[in-house]
């Protein structure tokens, strides 16, 4: 197959496949079928095969997929077969927690610097990441160049997010993960991904209301 246009939902699932493959590997398995991989994630076997087929032929008929082999391929596809230097803007509660999050480095993302606009924080170490000192926003451009940073995390209040995004884009950052609860306007060549935690809860709230109205769809 090897399509040139790939559905965005398929790329999202690719990350989930990788995560699940790592779990399976920890459990001692060496191969996995599309059926088993799909079951673990609530997807059909056909969906799994189709998604992978967008990128090449990685399976072995009668056998399934070799876990190590497929993990390597997915990392290559996602571009995480190397380490990315990232930076974080906003050393509040959430930013501090994100800075300490081990899951990023496990997946090949290395935090090199943290920024904040609060003069009382500047010059101090990030709580729980002693090795990183909080810097003023004015230092962003320099850091981007120095460490070839292409990805940044925004964890500032909504009111400040657009300004920070502008700074990051100007400094040469190519992708932004936005935790501020507001939409960002950026040039089309800049990738943006957003996480709004209140929005997630609202989705759950809606689903609960739905279930109450039309309950128990079995199948």
């Amino acid at each position: 197959m090897k399509a040139d246009h790939i559905p965005a939902p398929a790329v999202k699932r690719l990350s989930l496949y990788l995560r699940e493959l790592e779990n399976l590997q920890r459990g001692g398995r060496t191969t996995v079928s599309s059926r088993r991989l799909g079951d673990a994630l609530g997807l059909t076997d056909a969906q799994v095969r189709k998604d992978l087929a967008y990128f090449g032929q990685f399976g072995h008929p009668g056998i399934g997929y070799d876990i190590t082999e497929l993990s390597t391929e997915i990392r290559r596809i996602l571009g995480t077969d190397r380490t990315w230097n990232i930076l974080l803007v906003g050393a509040g509660n959430l930013g501090t927690a994100l800075a300490a999050y081990r899951g990023f480095s496990k997946r090949g993302f290395h935090l090199v610097a943290v920024f904040d606009s609060d003069p009382r924080k500047i010059g101090r170490p990030v709580p729980s990441v002693e090795s990183i000192t909080i810097q003023p926003l004015g230092e962003i451009a320099k850091t981007v160049k120095q460490y070839d940073v292409r990805l940044a995390i925004i964890s500032v209040p909504a009111e400040a997010a657009q300004q920070v995004a502008d700074l990051l884009v100007e400094a040469g950052v190519r992708g932004v993960l936005n935790f501020a609860p507001t939409a960002l306007t950026v040039p089309s060549e800049i990738a943006v991904s957003a996480v709004d935690m209140a929005v997630q809860l609202e989705q759950l709230s809606f689903q609960l209301g739905m279930m109450q109205r039309l309950p128990a769809r079995s199948g």
Copy 2:
């Protein structure tokens, strides 16, 4: 229109419309067109109108939508025209940050209790939320009943997440927001929403790779 089945993507956007309406309201506006609302979020005007039409007729031809009126309707649709009591399991770095997050209460979600399995944390206040004392997991069921809790946040390590989910479901929780980087298996009547921050970065990494291969699609 008032369809009985509503596309999941439409529901997701509904939350974003509400967020944007609140921003507009703060800016002093009283009405907004589908065009303007769409532009702010990177959507077409038709998309906005179609999404809203799934739920009823809220607009005024020639005028647009009344911001207060539409906000109220969306809150009613999402079920956030009331306060939800929520609880949080996992008082690590991320859990602590989430507990302190003001965005939840702003949107009608009230945190009533925090749980952790670490005996050294139990009995202590949540850092930066002095009013809440960390409780052992065994207290979950009691709290769910006492406060009529229907939604819970999981922010424990991946290895513990499934066990915690089982506990929550058994206690009567109806929806779970999962921050652990693993898929959860729950009964079909339980709603699950997941946030995996490393997955978000991987999506950005992929997009950057894509852009390098086939750059500058203008249009």
